[in-house]
């Protein structure tokens, strides 16, 4: 076993992960055997190099091996990869991107009649596939981002907005609908639309939103990895720092709400 720096080991493991993903579902090869061969190849190629072997030296060997996504001939790929390949490889190699944007545009146009939601969901999946394909090839989206990212952004914004307000609306409905809010704050007598009522309602809104956002930040931090993966490449820089910011905003908002409700009278 070759002694490598932690960075080089991580790089090798990532490469092997990519390789496993690329070979998964192949009908005529044994991925485990290929992995064993690649490990042996790397060990022999790096034999004699002073330990620990660094990421740069390992990178040269992996570069020579090439991207595993291109190793299989077309017939060896699972059907869904062959289909993706066919759609994506046109004269300009942009076909999947065009299809993704076309479905997105169709979704926006047909949104008023309801069916648009289905097209937008399809556009999101196609855009994610296009973005992954480009990443697998080690390329950047470049100008294709204008065609691929709108669907991902739109779904991300809708999901985020939905998550941010999902619990606030029912909380407001219960608090105001039952009248509990006014009895709790002693403002039953205040007429609707009066400054007193506005203070109580705005205070309650801020407090419920703030409290929910603190809870949401905790959930968000717990599911950060799958959430980030789902919306890549838009969420590439998303980190726990953003969950902490949401929690902080929540705490400030909840505190302001409490002040409005119970201190300012």
């Amino acid at each position: 076993m070759i002694d490598m720096t932690p960075e080089a080991s991580t790089r090798l493991e990532r490469y092997l992960e990519r390789m496993r993903a690329a070979l998964r579902g192949s009908r005529s090869v044994e991925p485990a055997e290929i992995e064993q061969n690649v490990r042996e190849h790397v060990e022999i190629a790096l034999d004699g190099i002073p330990a620990p072997v660094g990421a740069e030296r390992l990178g040269e060997v992996l570069e020579q091996l090439g991207p595993p996504e291109r190793w299989l001939v077309d017939d060896d790929r699972p059907w869904w990869r062959r289909m993706l390949q066919r759609v994506s490889s046109g004269p300009e190699d942009w076909r999947l991107t065009y299809v993704a944007f076309g479905v997105f545009a169709l979704g926006v146009l047909t949104l008023p009649i309801g069916i648009g939601v289905f097209f937008l969901a399809c556009a999101f999946l196609l855009s994610r596939a296009a973005a992954d394909l480009v990443a697998e090839r080690g390329e950047t989206l470049g100008a294709r981002r204008w065609l691929v990212l709108p669907a991902i952004w739109l779904v991300l914004v809708l999901v985020s907005m939905g998550a941010l307000i999902s619990m606030i609306v029912p909380a407001m409905a219960i608090g105001i609908g039952n009248g509990d809010l006014y009895s709790l704050t002693g403002t039953q007598e205040a007429s609707p639309g009066s400054l007193e009522r506005v203070r109580v309602e705005v205070g309650f809104l801020a407090m419920s939103a703030g409290t929910w956002w603190v809870i949401l930040a905790a959930i968000f931090a717990a599911v950060m990895k799958p959430f980030r993966t789902l919306f890549l490449p838009v969420t590439q820089r998303l980190s726990r720092k953003h969950a902490a910011i949401l929690a902080l905003v929540g705490v400030i908002l909840a505190s302001l709400g409490a002040v409005l409700l119970f201190v300012v009278r």
């Binding site: 090869v29 690649v38 190849h41």
Partner: protein, 115 residues
């Protein structure tokens, strides 16, 4: 002929020929993976990405044209050697014959063009 057309054509040709090249390399005796990759790499433009060789080895093994065995090495870890099976030798003969036939036909076509 555009660059894209030429690149696609050479890629397809290479893919098709790589199996024949691997079988021919093993025809002269057992080789371990790395050694085989190096040998093929010496042939200009045949192997662009070395990793391509390993799935082909796996497929040829599944087809029972080649078989593998482990041998200890004095220069490092034990190595997995590949060698042709009798079935593989027969297939190689058929493939080489077909290649000769194709090559001959192409040469004839080129000669006719020159006349």
């Amino acid at each position: 002929m555009t660059d894209t057309f030429y690149i696609n054509w050479t890629t397809q040709l290479r893919k098709g020929l790589l199996e024949l090249a691997i079988l021919n390399s093993l025809g002269s005796g057992p080789l371990y993976g790395y050694e085989l990759v190096r040998r093929l790499g010496d042939v200009d433009s045949l192997v662009i990405t070395e990793g391509t060789v390993y799935p082909i080895l796996s497929r040829l093994k599944n087809e029972r044209y080649i078989e593998s065995y482990i041998e200890e090495s004095t220069e490092g870890p034990p190595r997995k050697y590949y060698r042709l099976t009798p079935r593989g030798r027969e297939e190689l003969q058929r493939m080489n014959d077909h290649w000769q036939q194709l090559h001959g036909a192409l040469v004839t076509l080129r000669k006719e063009k020159k006349r």
